[in-house]
Symmetry: C3
Subunit: 213 residues, 3 copies
Amino acid sequence: MLSWLKYIVPRERKFFPLFEKVSGNLVQITKTLVELVNAPSAERRTELGKEVERLEHVGDNTSHEIFNELSTTFITPFDREDIHDLTCALDDVVDYCHGATKRIALYKIIQIHPGMIKLAELLAKGAEELNQAVLQLKDLKNVNRIKETCVRINSIENHADDIFDMSIAQLFEDEKDAIKLIKIKEILSSLETATDKCEDCANVLESIVLKNA
Amino acid sequence: MLSWLKYIVPRERKFFPLFEKVSGNLVQITKTLVELVNAPSAERRTELGKEVERLEHVGDNTSHEIFNELSTTFITPFDREDIHDLTCALDDVVDYCHGATKRIALYKIIQIHPGMIKLAELLAKGAEELNQAVLQLKDLKNVNRIKETCVRINSIENHADDIFDMSIAQLFEDEKDAIKLIKIKEILSSLETATDKCEDCANVLESIVLKNA
Amino acid sequence: MLSWLKYIVPRERKFFPLFEKVSGNLVQITKTLVELVNAPSAERRTELGKEVERLEHVGDNTSHEIFNELSTTFITPFDREDIHDLTCALDDVVDYCHGATKRIALYKIIQIHPGMIKLAELLAKGAEELNQAVLQLKDLKNVNRIKETCVRINSIENHADDIFDMSIAQLFEDEKDAIKLIKIKEILSSLETATDKCEDCANVLESIVLKNA
């Protein structure tokens, strides 16, 4: 947008509470995920899995609300495709978190792999950072804070990559039961992809900041 | 688009027959897929696999035609990115259907898993709904019919998700041969992803309807 | 773009050297990959793996530079989304090449599968073609050369598909150790997906040519 335009174009404000609802919901999901991988019993794990499921629906509905607003709003606070991409990227993080918990139940996993716990904790950190960045979006004066958040999310993703690589190498070393290996590998993959999607969110946020600084 | 614009902007009509060709072709592919997973012999299955392959090429060429039109047409009947996204999403459904049939041949699958039959049938239903919605596109007066179709596609996708989850849980329970398990799981995944892509199509259709209502 | 516009709109030239840096870097990576899968010793393979890693970072940084330019440049030499899509597609090729080499190390692969060598060689050919097409971008007079390059990339991708399908069919025939099978299959998949992403690059290039011819 031409820089002077921002003083005359009224900015549609209704997107901000919706973004904050999505990012706040993501914080909830990742916290529940951390609790789930540390749960003391299978029963508790089932309960927490249902909570992740419920929160995933909340996220879905809010994303849908954003897409509807986007289709019917002529002026948006920043580029339409950035709103679209940010919504999709946040939704992807949620989906891969949900995918991991679903598989833990579906595959009847009894012993949680230590890599899953570490990745869940990194996801919770990443979600917290994303939420902070989203809260800054409505007031683009704090551009540096958003940029710093993006740097931290990138470093979380790099850390998750290392954890994942080491876990997989170790798994191929130790696990001789191919079916067990497939199960654990797939859950670790879902969690690692969720951290990739956090990085995608950070990239969209950075792009929004650059365009509107 | 500003609502009054639609009365003065000439709408490029040539996209509609191309969309209908793609969605009609998808109906053909999914019908062939249903026939394939129910085929009485390996020979018949091979024949039907070749037919899916042929239809996949037809779809590819038509998508390519749409992209070429899009690159050279200045005024489009709805947003360029929606045309692009709808074409890609329809093409993705085709690709995952084709991927599933290719793997059935490649992996020398002898016994078709019941989950594959159920998913193929859901795909055929989804394709039929998509085709109906696409036929309504050229005359956006029937907005409610398109919306209803999208709702039905979403419910088909949810059903497919449940079928997939149950099939996979059962597979991990019953199948002790890891290599057989990998094969079946991958084909089920392709089919399930194809239903996800149907939902992506429905989302683009919904967005088009919302913008142009 | 309306055809007469190209005579009055100044075109931002700074994108071209960045694209050429990315595509030149991709040529380097695929050459290193070919050397790696043909390396005479595990030590040499490790060295070459580190080189791929280093080049992947170079690619990442250049992509990031392009995105930053895109966010802050008002007039671009061709459609913003095409610049975005081309950058992402080139980056995807790099990522899947890197993913394959990372897995070769991580999974402690001793014997390189012949399919990997063939796919790496096809990737090197595809990267060379892409680089040639990118070099033509800054001067859109040679439209036919870009189109011919795209045709050759498509045929490389089809060839890669066949190699992959045959390798996988053979693997399921010969390899009775499920864990070894998983490892080899995944590396072959990464390489094959890299050739798919080359085709995505060719599609964006074709779209740019069509719009600006």
